[in-house]
C-alpha cells in the first residue's frame, strides 16, 4: 500500500555567527550549510496497519510525513502510495489521505465546527450520502454531539483535537497521517483519541501512521514501530521485539519512566541519537 524507497531530502540552513557585524554581512551574502533531513529512508506499510513513527526532535519525522502527504518533493528516491506518487499527482492523491497536524488547526477558528465540516465536504467533493454516514459515525464514536454547534475558539484543546481528527476523516480516506495528535491533551482526551484511532482502524480498515513523543500512545496503538534518528531509519519492527531487546538490557537504572520509555531511551543510546 505504501512503499517508500531511498527517500532523501536536505535543507539549506542559513548560517551566521552572532554579533552585529555578521548579521549585517548576512544581509548581502549568506552562507548555507546543507542539513540532511532524510537520508535513504526505505520502508513499506501494508493496508490496515497502525505504525508508530518515533524519534527525537528534529530527527526527520515531520519531513517524512510531509513527503508522504505530498507537501514536499524529496531530493531523491521514490514513493508510491496507493499507486500515486504523492508529489506528482498531488490533487488526485490527497483525496485519499487524511492529515492531522497536532500543532495546527485545520478548522475555521470563528465559526461552529459543523460549518468547517460542511466546507470540507465541498472541498473534497464528498457526496451528501457519504458525508451523512461518515459524520454520523464520527459524531457517535468521538462523542461530538454538542461540540458541532460550538465555535472552534471556544473548544478546549481535547475537544478541538477530536474535531480535528473527525475533520480529517470526513472524506473517508484510506490512510490517516497523525502528526503528534495527543500533544498537550489531558489523560481523558488522550484515551478517547487512542480508542477512536484504534476503532477506525479496525472498523474501516484505515491505515494509520502516527508520530508522537508519548510512548504510551505507541504502546496502546501500534504493533509496529519505525525509529528514525538524524535522518536515517534505524529500526523497523514490532513493538514487542523492541521491548524484549532493549527493555531489560540495562534494568539497573530506572529514571522513573515506564518500561517502554526506558526501552526507548536505551535504544536512543545504542544508536547514539539522543
Amino acid at each position: 500500500m505504501i512503499t517508500v524507497s531511498g527517500i532523501s531530502k536536505s535543507f539549506k540552513v542559513a548560517r551566521r555567527s552572532s554579533g552585529f557585524g555578521s548579521a549585517f554581512k548576512s544581509l548581502f551574502r549568506r552562507e548555507y550549510t546543507e542539513v540532511a533531513a532524510l537520508s535513504d529512508v526505505t520502508f513499506s506499510i501494508g493496508p490496515g496497519e497502525i505504525v508508530g513513527y518515533i524519534g527525537p526532535n528534529g530527527a526527520g519525522k515531520s519531513t517524512t510525513i510531509k513527503v508522504m502527504s505530498g507537501i514536499l518533493v524529496p531530493d531523491g528516491g521514490t514513493c508510491s502510495i496507493m499507486g500515486y506518487t504523492p508529489w506528482l499527482d498531488r490533487v488526485q492523491y490527497v483525496r485519499n489521505i487524511g492529515v492531522v497536524f497536532g500543532q495546527r488547526s485545520q478548522l475555521w477558528w470563528d465559526v461552529p465546527v459543523i460549518d468547517s465540516f460542511e466546507l470540507l465536504r465541498d472541498i473534497y467533493d464528498v457526496t451528501e450520502k457519504e458525508y451523512r454516514s461518515n459524520l454520523e459515525l464520527l459524531t457517535d464514536t468521538l462523542d461530538l454531539g454538542d461540540l458541532l454547534r460550538t465555535p472552534v475558539r471556544q473548544l478546549s484543546l481535547g475537544q478541538r483535537m477530536r474535531c480535528e481528527i473527525a475533520a480529517s476523516l470526513l472524506h473517508g480516506p484510506g490512510i490517516l497521517f497523525l502528526d503528534e495528535p495527543t500533544i498537550g491533551l489531558d489523560a481523558v482526551s488522550k484515551i478517547a483519541v487512542r480508542k477512536f484511532i484504534s476503532a477506525i482502524n479496525k472498523e474501516k480498515g484505515v491505515t494509520v501512521i502516527l508520530t508522537t513523543h508519548d510512548m504510551s500512545d505507541i504502546e496502546a496503538l501500534a504493533q509496529r514501530i519505525l525509529l528514525i534518528g538524524k535522518g536515517k531509519l534505524l529500526y523497523d519492527g514490532d513493538l514487542a521485539a523492541m521491548r524484549a531487546k532493549y527493555g531489560a538490557a540495562e534494568g539497573g537504572e530506572t529514571g522513573g519512566g515506564s518500561a517502554i520509555e526506558e526501552a526507548l531511551v536505551n535504544m536512543y543510546k545504542e544508536y547514539e541519537i539522543s
Binding site: 507537501i71 514536499l72 483525496r95 497536524f101 465541498d122
Partner: protein
C-alpha cells in the same frame, strides 16, 4: 466557483463574529479614499484643468481605478496577506487538500471591510458619469465594465506576484506596495500627464494604461479612426494576470522542493 462562494460564506460568518470592528473598519475604509478624492477636487478647483483633462474626466478614472482596487483587495486579500499563511505553516494545510492553490489562497481571506472603499468609489464613479460629457452607447458602457474588470485583474496579478516572492523571502515585501498603492495613486490620473517613461512603464509593463487612459479616449470620443483597439485595450490588461499565475505556480514548486 461554487466552492469559492462557500469559502466566502464561512469567512463572512467569521467576520460577523466581530461586528463592531467590522463597521468601524468599513467606515474607515469609506473615508480614506474620500480624503484623497477631496484633494483631487481642490486641485482642480485651483487649476481648472490638467493637460486638457477636466475634473469629471479625471474623477471617472479615479472612480474606475479605486473601484478595481477595492474589488481586488476584497478578493485577493489572501495573496496580500500570504506571508502569514507561510509563516504559520497553514500553506502546508492547503497543499494536502485536493484543490488548486490559487483557489484556496483566494478563499483563505476576504476583506469585507473594503466594501466601504467600494461604496465610496462607486459614488464617485456615478457622480462622474452623470457629469462627464460623452455620448453614451452600449459599447461604451461595456468598455467601462471592461475597464473595471481589467483593473481588478491587474491589481490581483500584482498581489499574486508579491505573494510569490514570499516563497523566497518568507517575509512580505514592502516593495510590493510601490506597485499596488503606488500603481493606484498613479493610475487614478490619466496617464499622459506624466513623463514618457512612467507612461511607458504603466502601459507595457503593468498595463494600467490599458484600463484607464486608452479606453477613456474612446469613451470621451477622442479617438482618431477606429475606436475598436481602444475599446479592446482593457482585454490586453487582463492578459497581465497570465504570467503572474505562471510565476505563482513556479513559486509553489519551489516551496515544495525546499520546504522553507
Amino acid at each position: 466557483m461554487r466552492l469559492f462562494g462557500k469559502y466566502l460564506l464561512i469567512l463572512f460568518k467569521s467576520q460577523m463574529q466581530y461586528r463592531t470592528s467590522f463597521w468601524l473598519l468599513t467606515f474607515g475604509q469609506f473615508f480614506i479614499p474620500f480624503s484623497v478624492f477631496a484633494g483631487l477636487y481642490m486641485l482642480f478647483d485651483r487649476f481648472g484643468q490638467i493637460q486638457g483633462w477636466e475634473f469629471f474626466e479625471v474623477a471617472l478614472v479615479f472612480g474606475v481605478i479605486h473601484m478595481a482596487f477595492a474589488v481586488s483587495e476584497c478578493l485577493a486579500r489572501g495573496f496580500d496577506m500570504f506571508s502569514t499563511l507561510i509563516v504559520n505553516g497553514d500553506f502546508d494545510r492547503l497543499l494536502v487538500r485536493p484543490r488548486s492553490t490559487v483557489l484556496q489562497v483566494l478563499g483563505s481571506k476576504f476583506e469585507f471591510t473594503r466594501f466601504g472603499r467600494l461604496l465610496q468609489s462607486l459614488i464617485v464613479l456615478i457622480w462622474a458619469l452623470s457629469k462627464v460629457e460623452a455620448d453614451w452607447t452600449l459599447m461604451k458602457g461595456v468598455t467601462l465594465l471592461f475597464m473595471i474588470a481589467s483593473g481588478v485583474m491587474i491589481f490581483t496579478g500584482i498581489f499574486i506576484v508579491i505573494a510569490t516572492m514570499c516563497f523566497w523571502t518568507v517575509q512580505g515585501l514592502e516593495i510590493g506596495n510601490i506597485l499596488t498603492d503606488g500603481g493606484r495613486e498613479m493610475a487614478q490620473y490619466p496617464l499622459n500627464i506624466y513623463h514618457k517613461w512612467i507612461t511607458r512603464f504603466f502601459t507595457y509593463v503593468i498595463p494600467f494604461g490599458c484600463v484607464n487612459y486608452l479606453p477613456l479616449q474612446y469613451i470621451l470620443g477622442r479617438t482618431e479612426g477606429s475606436g475598436v483597439p481602444y475599446m479592446l485595450a482593457p482585454l490586453a490588461g487582463c492578459l497581465f494576470i497570465v504570467p503572474c499565475l505562471l510565476l505563482w505556480n513556479f513559486g509553489v514548486r519551489r516551496y515544495r522542493s525546499t520546504g522553507s
